[in-house]
Amino acid sequence: MAKTHVTMKVNGAEVEGLVEPRTLLVHFIRENLQMTGTHIGCETTHCGACTVDIDGMSVKSCTMFAVQAEGSDITTVEGMANADGTLSALQEGFRMMHGLQCGFCTPGMIVRAHRLLKENPSPSEPEIRMGISGNICRCTGYQNIVKAIQYAAAKINGVEFQEAAE
């Protein structure tokens, strides 16, 4: 099958490549761009480990073809840090609240939570839980993932983070 030339912006940089139409976006990111922060978990659109941000939407990159991303603006977990290289509020939240155990789901969790907080900077706990309901943590470490997002929301809003009483 003839290859197609694609160009897109990934984490602020213009990138290009030759892909078959059937190449999934996640494979283009991991194999052509050699950016392996975006994980492949279930490959069946359930787990959310492959979530990337495309033109302001959280998308499971295993369920979209690279050719469909032509001209789009993509952010992956590699693009989550602050411009000066320090941890973003979300990354800091995951570190401070122990929001990961094995870490496999973490890239998808952080990229999804990034868009959630852009759309709703002060989410309630149920809103956070529904907001990350497309991401599965097989360590079942959801409590601390929710706390990590609450930590980030507090920091972004300039208020002191207070853990809810158990």
Partner: protein, 287 residues
């Protein structure tokens, strides 16, 4: 899991898309949000030789008011439906049901056109569209026609869509002011299809049901309109005996498959409960 090879087409207009479909024939499939088709392609259960991606067609996007109808472009995503004030105000049941579809990431990509056109009995929008009395605009190189949602579904994945046709928009009559509605869906987890689900749209007058429409999801190879159940509640105040009769009338037309969601009797039982709950909640919010 890698899909089979295909050629990719991205037309910029409906005219170009239906011409491609006509020229390429049976080996071509339109691609909407892709969240049903792409997983099927990865499993090689679908192996189209040509994909016609509809994302480049601006005319298929958006929600507009046309007289007494809301006209929703086929490529409008569930996320966009949820963001629409028009939808939330005029037909809150559509907002409520969209929130129960899949998960946030899938809702950014999944479209109303794909949901209603695929003919998957597990999809939520088809029964809802039948309940609301919606119709679908189908376009081909030969012209356009409108088909009522109630006449569209013929079997699992079999619909009134003819080869060469694309579903381009959904037209939904705005329910009467003061109507009550509810969509009750039991599912095992976020992202699952319904074990059983029921949609109710009704109006009340003097404490009694004046009009009522009931739709059922995933309890048959097609979505169902539970006409006998709806007729059973008209003129009543939804007392316990009436609710029981309505649930029984709805269960009588259900023929779900036994699957991981449960055996046939259980899924019918759940379907009856969904009807009861949806009737009660719809009546409670009707004015």
């Amino acid at each position: 899991m890698i899909p089979g090879s295909f050629s990719y087409h991205r037309p910029a207009s409906v005219a170009d898309a239906v011409k491609l479909l006509a020229d390429l024939g049976e080996d071509a499939r339109p691609l909407a949000g892709g969240h049903s088709l792409v997983p099927m392609m990865k499993l090689r259960l679908a192996t189209p030789a040509h994909l016609i991606d509809l994302h480049g067609i601006a005319a298929l996007k958006g929600i507009r008011r046309d007289g007494q109808n809301l006209v929703i472009g086929a490529m409008t995503t569930q996320h966009e439906l949820l963001a629409s004030d028009d939808v939330a105000k005029a037909m809150p049941i559509l907002h409520e049901a969209a929130l129960l579809i899949a998960d946030p990431q899938v809702r950014y990509r999944g479209t109303i056109g794909g949901n209603v056109a695929n003919g998957d009995p597990g999809n939520d929008m088809p029964a809802l569209m039948m309940t609301l009395g919606a119709s679908y605009r189908l376009e081909s190189a030969g012209g356009a026609r409108d088909v009522a949602a109630a006449d569209f579904y013929q079997g699992a994945y079999f619909t009134a869509l003819e080869p060469g046709e694309i579903l381009t928009s959904v037209s939904v009559p705005v329910p009467a002011a003061g109507h009550g509605s509810a969509y009750e869906k039991l599912k095992r987890k976020v992202g699952d299809y319904a074990t059983a689900a029921a949609a109710v749209v009704l109006t009340m007058s003097g404490g009694k049901v004046a009009t009522c429409s009931i739709g059922l999801t995933n309890v048959h190879e097609t979505p169902l309109l539970a006409t006998d159940a709806a007729n059973a509640v008209i003129g009543t105040s939804l007392d316990a005996a009436t609710l029981k009769r309505a649930a029984a009338a709805a269960e009588a037309i259900m023929a779900p498959a036994a699957d991981a969601r449960g055996p046939v009797e259980y899924r019918k039982h759940v379907g009856g409960i969904m009807v009861t709950r949806a009737l009660q909640r719809a009546a409670a919010v009707a004015k």
